[in-house]
């Protein structure tokens, strides 16, 4: 058991402006299940992309040794050829093709370009049996559930004679039964000699299945724990995952907290794509005037889904629950309703949901509050210019003028445009989803200052963030979300990274 099938050493991967991985080392023994743990954005997925050739050789520094040979993969095909297969969190199956067709997609069982359907379906049947999938190979992918789709992905990997199987958050979208089945299957594969690397946020699963755990934080390897030798507990892993330095400076603020401004009760949202799956499950939270409230949760915990479903039902189906504004129950059926009730939501993905990148600053700033700048449907363009110019100065948006196209601004300045847009609607409640993602340190500080200013003006702020130090440095109170449930409410004084991470990884009892 001491032979290493994989060694990655000194892996460094740089994106423009960011070091995603810095001198990362990973050693995986043959025939083990090796878990990789870390916060959102710690670099786990990047590391796996380096390993599987998504980032080809030359785009990173460091060495990969697989099966005793140095590897320089130029693409996924090379790594698959060597026997490394990665299964991404978002499954890469074609829904209108059959199980068998998906298994052999790009690897067709064919003779002189003509597909041998008997062989295809027979071999697919053998593979599905191996992964415990009781479905006819000719069934369409769209007709089976996510749990079974995950098994098809594994069958597909097995068809490529996989030696090292990488699974990125394999149980994130699965219910408990499907998860248990999947974990059993991985144990079975281990016994057949297939090595697995599994990325997971669910620490109870990691404890249950893994033989070793490597912890990554801020793009660096922190430690590798041997489950057999060391006495590994969830707390032990958590303390490795967090402990990020709190050296980000945060602007000072004296909170002046007033009356309750906004409250959600028993909010439940079902997934639009997977019938019956609760994405948000009975969540309740409240915000007070002048208060900055954090919402912490790992990827897939349902933070954005919660925010979007509240903001005019822009996500989810069968939404139930109650919303109160200033103590009075309100109905929010559309985004217009939400804006009318003084609620603003700055989206997580600026470029996709927040901005019209081909338009200029002033037209983006006025996009949500245009009614206030117009009379009887006619826009006062001069007023629009004046207001945009005001925001450009007060927000310190770095651009030659408000006629500059938004697509050319840096991430930090784009975020300031998004915030300006929502402040123009004069909201009482602001939901800010990852407001500092992809922004450099200096601009982050500016965004923090703006958020503090909003709270000082008596607005209630709900801040969703993956960066725990940011939440600890800014928020008066922090809710934690895990698997769609609110698992904790921690006041500023009691909040530590360890406590939050514990609550964020708390599974269902």
């Amino acid at each position: 058991m001491t032979e290493h099938i994989l060694r990655m050493s000194g892996i460094t991967k740089t994106f423009p402006g960011v070091k995603a991985l810095q001198d990362v080392n990973l050693s995986v023994r043959r025939g083990e299940i090796h878990a990789i743990c870390g916060e959102n954005g710690a670099g786990k997925s990047t590391l796996m992309k380096v390993l599987s050739g998504v980032y080809p050789h030359g785009e990173y520094e460091g060495e990969i040794t697989f099966e005793g040979r140095r590897c320089e993969f130029g693409g996924i095909r090379d790594s698959e050829h060597a026997g490394i297969v990665i299964i991404h969190q978002e499954l890469a199956l074609s829904p209108q093709l059959s199980i068998a067709e998906n298994i052999f997609l790009g690897n067709e069982r064919a003779k002189r370009g003509v597909i041998d359907w008997n062989r295809t379906n027979y071999e697919a049947g053998e593979l599905t049996k191996r992964v415990g999938l009781r479905e006819n190979p000719t069934t369409l992918i769209s007709d089976i559930g996510v749990g079974k789709q995950q098994l098809v992905e594994i069958a597909k990997a097995l068809s490529k004679e996989v030696k090292l199987l990488i699974l990125d958050e394999p149980t994130a979208a699965l219910n408990d039964d499907d998860s248990a089945h999947l974990l059993d299957l991985l144990r079975g594969l281990r016994d057949e000699g297939i090595t697995c690397v599994i990325i997971s946020h669910k620490l109870n699963e990691v404890i249950a299945i893994a033989d070793a755990v490597t912890i990554i934080r801020d793009g660096r390897t922190i430690e590798t724990l041997d489950m057999a030798g060391d006495d590994v507990t969830e707390d032990r892993i958590i303390s490795g995952m967090v402990g990020r330095a709190l050296d980000n400076r945060f602007p000072e603020r004296e909170p002046a907290i007033g009356e309750e401004a906004f409250r959600i009760e028993d909010w439940t949202v079902y997934s639009p794509s997977q019938p019956g799956r609760k994405v948000v499950d009975g969540a309740s939270l409240r915000l007070r005037r002048g208060e900055i409230v954090g919402l912490a949760g790992l990827m897939g915990a349902g933070r954005t889904e919660l925010a979007m479903s509240v903001f005019g039902r822009t996500y989810g189906t069968h939404i139930s629950g109650r919303i109160f504004k200033d103590g009075k129950p309100i109905e929010i059926r559309t985004v217009q309703d939400a804006i009318k009730h003084g609620i603003a939501y700055a989206t997580e993905d600026r470029k996709r949901y927040g901005l019209n990148l081909i338009e200029d600053i002033k037209r983006n700033v006025s996009a949500a509050g245009l009614r206030g700048l117009s009379r009887r449907g006619w826009v006062n363009e001069n007023e629009e210019f004046r207001v945009a110019e005001q925001f450009r100065k007060s927000m310190n948006i770095k651009a030659p003028g408000v006629n500059s196209v938004v697509g050319k601004l840096s991430g930090g300045n784009q975020q300031k445009v998004v915030l300006s847009k929502w402040i123009l609607t004069e909201p009482d409640v602001l939901i800010l989803d990852e407001p500092t993602r992809g922004i450099d340190v200096g601009a982050k500080y500016e965004i923090y200052t703006i958020i503090n200013r909003l709270a000082d003006q008596g607005k209630a702020v709900l801040m969703i963030s993956s960066e725990l130090p940011e939440l600890l440095g800014l928020c008066d109170r922090i809710y934690t979300l895990s698997e769609g449930r609110v698992t904790g409410e921690v006041p500023r004084g009691e909040a530590t990274q360890e406590r939050l991470m514990y609550l964020m990884t708390k599974g269902q009892e």
Binding site: L355, N356, I358
Partner: protein, 419 residues
């Protein structure tokens, strides 16, 4: 009114002149010209010069200018609606058939049923709106791609036309409708002599002068208001140059028309529509929302734009404009025929794209679409004047469309690469 000035030349004041080479921008004697937004007008000017030379000046003769306007008015009207549809990121393939069916309806009402023409016109326009609402419903509220819905509409409304007409033409139309489609303003004030140019209609000339005065005053007031808000404005000299160029163009066209048969009524209608729709697109909340939807649908939704309703009304509007074009086309031929409007949708779509609309939506101008339509009109007219066979005209039009869109994609890619 800024949008109807022909020369969309901008000064490099925005980037303080010192900005490192901006893509798609060329510097010409101190003026920096945005190629992407004004290339179309330069191309139009070059095409006019080219065909003026090739036809020994026949292109710009009074009667020919009048012909170009009257013969293409319906496509230009369609192009106004089409550019809005395309800015929102959709397409409408049915407009040719809608032109046919509304023309047929007008014929049945006016000729067969003897309904007074103003009432019949109103009913036809409402019918166009209902047709647009039908398609808008499927597209906006039911969620079927516009391509499919309007492809179906193309067949449906052609079938309806044939049913209504019983496969034969209906005519003749009342004189007033024919005058609207094909006629000219009366010489209310008589003629004046213009020296070597001969006699010209005084009323037409006055209208032209009023239009010029209106343009200058409106532009000057806009400029002053901007200055009052501390916005950068172009220097007085450039402003004067732009106004002079615009005035010269209007004056030239009006004088030529006044020497022929006065102003075509369709030109008056077109001018009103272009002005109205330009203002709507630029200065109303509704117009802004069209651009927002085409620029980033998701962001528009998350900013509280009622996307479905906006898309619905864009198609209603397209139906109304198709009905107007339908009546004008039928009135011009003095007959509503089963093949009316064939391939008009393609001309309107081509006009919009030649006029600078982006394939992904979010970009385009009403004046651009009109210019695009006029480019095709001038190519058509100029080539037939020099006796080119129709297949060659088609070839050139196809090449121009492809080149225009390729140019748009190319400038965008260069802009993206320099980011």
């Amino acid at each position: 009114m800024s949008s109807i000035t022909p020369a969309d030349v901008q000064v490099g004041a925005m980037g303080d002149g010192g900005s490192p080479r901006q893509p798609g921008r060329v510097s010409l004697g101190g003026l920096s010209i945005n190629l992407r937004s004004s290339g179309i007008y330069i191309a139009f000017a070059l095409i006019i010069v080219l065909f003026s030379v090739l036809t020994d000046g026949a292109l710009l003769q009074p009667q020919n200018i009048s012909n170009i306007i009257v013969q293409n008015s319906y496509v230009l009207i369609l192009a106004i609606g089409m550019i809005l549809v395309i800015i929102a990121g959709h397409i409408d393939l049915s407009v040719g058939s809608v032109v046919a069916v509304t023309g047929a309806l007008a014929a049945v009402l006016m000729v067969n049923m003897g309904m007074p023409w103003p009432l019949a016109l109103l009913v036809t326009i409402i019918a166009g709106g209902v047709i647009g609402a039908w398609q808008g419903y499927w597209i906006a509220y039911f969620g079927i791609p516009a391509f499919i819905v309007t492809l179906a509409g193309m067949l449906l409304f052609r079938a309806l036309t044939l049913t209504v007409l019983g496969n034969q033409g209906i005519g003749p139309f009342p004189d007033q409708v024919r005058t609207l489609a094909n006629g000219f303003t009366d010489g209310y004030l008589g003629n004046v002599g213009l020296g070597p140019l001969g006699g010209a209609d005084l009323f037409s000339l006055l209208i032209g002068l009023i239009a010029i005065a209106g343009m200058v005053v409106a532009q000057w007031r806009t400029r002053n208001a901007r200055k009052g808000y501390g916005q950068s404005v172009e220097p007085v000299a450039l402003f004067a140059l732009k106004m002079a160029a615009g005035a010269a163009l209007i004056l030239f066209v009006v004088v030529q028309l006044a020497r022929f048969k006065n102003l075509p009524w369709v030109l008056v209608l077109l001018a009103v529509l272009v002005l109205g729709y330009s203002l709507m697109a630029n200065r109303t909340v509704f117009g802004r929302q069209i651009y927002a939807i085409g620029g980033n649908l998701q962001a528009a939704v998350m900013s509280g734009v009622k996307v479905k309703s906006v898309v619905f009304w864009i198609f209603v509007n397209m139906g109304v404009l198709s009905a107007i074009a339908g009546v004008i086309f039928a009135g011009r031929l003095n007959q509503a025929g089963p093949t009316a409007g064939n391939s008009f949708e393609l001309d309107a779509i081509a006009a919009a794209f030649i006029g600078g609309a982006a394939v992904q939506g979010g970009v385009g101008k009403v004046v651009g679409a009109i210019t695009g339509g006029l480019i095709m009109a001038v190519i058509n007219n100029g080539m037939s004047l020099i006796g080119s066979p129709s297949e060659r005209v088609m070839l050139v039009k196809g090449a121009v469309l492809l080149a225009a869109v390729a140019f748009d994609v190319w400038t965008k890619r260069r802009a993206g690469a320099s980011r």
